[in-house]
């Protein structure tokens, strides 16, 4: 079985901020990547100053940003699940698990990247992470891919311990940066323009850290 990465996240930009560098490294070494993106981030709140979006146009803008970021990272296959932002935890789980299971059987990934259920802050992250792990658990033990779970809840390390995978992504910092900038609707507020020096200082630190390392927890399914 050749290597193939399957990424499952709910929002356009989840693939970039949490693991864009890791994915770029895989892509550079020629490993194919399939990304299942759950929603179009319809309920995002950054409309820009000056405005570049409103509630009704945001999904189209974020969809275009998603495609641009995937290109930057080197994600060749993008599957949009067509769910709605902030609603995944309320959906009937069965059809979603079935869909992910079907994709798992087609793609036969060696590695799955998703959110760590319970420790990924946004209810959509926790819900889709859980559904993904449920789908992986349906495969026979020998067919199951490794799961890298992404967690970032405050104090999550107190409960789940330190991450066992810490990737140095500095070699592809420029790629991750390009992907972050592709998600303009999400990055503009985080990285304000240079004239706001005071605001800029702490965000600069957050920014540089994000371009150096990415961390994951190998998830054991039962």
């Amino acid at each position: 079985m050749g290597q193939h990465i399957l990424v499952v996240f709910p929002h356009p930009d989840d693939e970039t901020f949490g693991c864009g560098g890791t994915l770029a490294l895989f892509a550079k070494s020629g490993i194919p990547i399939t990304y299942i993106c759950g929603t179009l981030g319809q309920m995002g709140r950054n409309m820009g100053n000056p405005f570049f979006a409103n509630r009704e146009t945001l999904s189209k803008i974020r969809e275009a940003e998603l495609e641009k970021a995937c290109k930057a990272i080197g994600i060749q296959h993008l599957i949009k699940l067509g769910l709605r932002d902030k609603t995944i935890e309320f959906e009937d789980p069965e059809p979603i698990v079935n869909r992910i299971e079907q994709i798992l059987r087609e793609v036969q990934p060696s590695l799955v990247l998703t959110h760590y259920p319970g420790y990924a802050v946004h209810p959509d992250h926790n819900a889709l992470g859980e559904l993904t792990i449920k789908a992986v658990s349906r495969l026979s033990t020998q067919d199951r891919p490794t799961i890298y779970a992404h967690a970032f809840a405050r104090n999550c390390q107190d409960v789940i311990g330190p991450p066992d995978i810490v990737n140095d992504i500095s070699a592809v910092a420029d790629v991750k940066c390009a992907a972050i900038l592709a998600h303009r609707s999400q990055s503009q507020v985080m990285f304000p323009r240079d004239n706001k020096t005071e605001v800029n200082e702490p965000t600069k630190n957050a920014y540089s850290h994000m371009l150096q390392r990415e961390s994951f927890w190998t998830y054991r399914c039962f």
Partner: protein, 116 residues
């Protein structure tokens, strides 16, 4: 969107009077408000494609603005509205944004269902 001008928004509201219309009403302080410790709680609520009919609809305030829609059996209310958009046929979009363009409240009316 553009800064609210009551002389444009009031007649726009009136065009939806006494008709079965679709409502999007939302308020949020951001999905990461508590995580980023910007607030003790993450709070938000939305209704999308609620079907309502109102007999009186008014925009008030000097900015940010408030809108109240009086229905036969109740009310729809929003405050903190700063901007409007009439660019899409049959739709009135109203929203309240902070200085960085982050949406905090939205009240939208449409003759047709909003996209899901």
């Amino acid at each position: 969107m553009h800064p609210i001008d009551r002389s444009i928004v009031q007649p726009a509201l009136d065009r939806f009077l006494n008709r079965e219309v679709y409502l999007h009403l939302e308020t949020t302080n951001g999905a990461y408000a508590a995580h980023r410790q910007e607030s003790k709680m993450t709070v938000g609520a939305y209704i999308r494609n609620g079907r309502i009919s109102f007999i009186r609809g008014t925009i008030t305030g000097e900015g940010p603005y408030r809108v109240g829609l009086k229905m036969q059996d109740g009310w729809v209310y929003a405050e903190g509205l700063t901007d409007f958009d009439l660019g899409q046929e049959g739709k009135l979009l109203l929203a309240g944004h902070d200085e960085e363009g982050r949406l905090a409240v939205a009240l939208e009316l449409s003759m047709e269902p909003f996209e899901l």
